[in-house]
Amino acid sequence: MYPTGPIPKPPSDDKRWRIVEATMRRNGFEPQALIESLHSVQQAMGYLDEPAMKWVAACLRVPLSKIQGVATFYHHFTLKPQGKHTCVVCLGTACYIKGSRQILESVQSQLGIQGGQTTADGRVSLLVARCIGACGLAPATVLDGQVLAKTDTDLLLKRLQSVTDGKAES
């Protein structure tokens, strides 16, 4: 139960805010639910923007600086919109010793961006993972949620090319 007064209004009429509000309600609008709520925002909206963080802060009665501190502490959260497609290169130990750094470098040079960045046209985000837990399949990469086991660099680059060309879009 929200302790005092009505629950602050969401930033816009977007229905997706209701999902976030449901998460906060389920947790009793307790400040401890901050990370759960940020997960919910990111899942619903794709990233954490300022209006969203202000709203969550108001609902959970968390200081603005604290929400910013939490959102930037955890690598999972992103404050910028992600590209239409995502390519994750795992840099876990098993992948690293099987050459994932070289894979990363190839992808970086093909896309012209660094890990953690999104191409200027907003088409692809390149992410670097600490370990996706697929060490038996090293080196592993993930393209749009699909894990590529024992990644072949050329194949990955080819698939990426079709993504950047827009061929993979439906």
């Binding site: 200081p63 603005l64 600086s65 604290k66 910013q68 930037t72 502490f73």
Partner: protein, 243 residues
């Protein structure tokens, strides 16, 4: 941390640097030592604020354990034998100060806190006349937006005294830390310019508790910035009395 509140405050005896002392039960090693005039070096600890335990300068040796202990975070126990000075501790403390000096851009000669800086004084006290470690020379900004105060990230040592005083004493929680590790930095609200903060009361407590020239009054010249934090234990005491 203060054991004075306990009605049944029994006293215990322990040895610090060969001095047998007695103190109230519940005190930290740091507090007990200070009560007896033994000054263990610290940068993040400040009377009146909660414990942080981040600077690691107050590490001491306790007989019976090969580990080192942070004096600020270790409670005194009966019969404890503590050494606050040893060649090893001295070496580590100097390295910590060197690490801080190499981490950001500390240039005393152009600093408004020159001569009144706790980091500078610590370096002098520990005999740091040289930094053996490579300097990082990061590119950091200065937030000059506030009417009265200035935040210079180049001089910040991330002791979080400002964050704690703002949240715990002023109650505004305008400041916090963003990011992590070597990328961490002090922020206002949603990482906005200080002047845009809607929660800052411009009370200036953060400036007064800052050990270095990171938080200063605007308009001060080199060496002019003198900080006062005697208000802290007073405010804390008054809070306790009235609660």
């Amino acid at each position: 941390m203060n054991g004075g509140k306990h009605a049944t405050a029994e006293s215990i005896t322990l040895t610090i640097d060969q001095n047998a002392i007695s103190c109230r039960n519940g005190l930290s090693v740091l507090e007990a030592a200070r009560e007896h005039g033994i000054d263990i070096p610290t940068l993040c600890w400040l009377e009146g604020l909660t414990l942080w335990g981040g600077c690691r300068l107050c590490m001491v040796e306790i007989e019976g354990s090969p580990r080192l202990f942070a004096a600020c975070a270790t409670q005194c126990t009966e019969g404890m034998v503590i050494h606050t000075q040893s060649p090893r501790l001295h070496r580590y403390r100097r390295t910590i100060v060197e690490m801080l000096l190499a981490e950001r851009n500390h240039v005393c000669s152009v600093c408004v806190s020159n001569g009144h800086c706790e980091l500078q004084a610590m370096a002098q006290r520990l005999g740091v006349d040289h930094v053996h470690l490579p300097y990082r020379f990061p590119r950091l900004s200065v937030d000059n937006s506030h009417d009265f105060f200035r935040l210079d990230h180049n001089r910040c040592i991330l002791c979080t005294r400002c964050v704690r005083v703002c949240a715990e004493i002023e109650g505004a929680h305008t400041k916090d830390v963003k990011g992590r590790g070597i990328q961490a930095a002090i922020i206002h609200d949603l990482d906005q310019p200080w002047v845009e903060s809607q929660t800052c009361t411009s009370c200036g407590k953060c400036v007064n508790v800052c050990p270095t020239g990171a938080l200063t009054h605007r308009g001060t010249a080199i060496g002019e910035m003198i900080k006062k934090h005697e208000f802290l234990p007073y405010l804390k005491l008054m809070r306790e009395v009235h609660q």
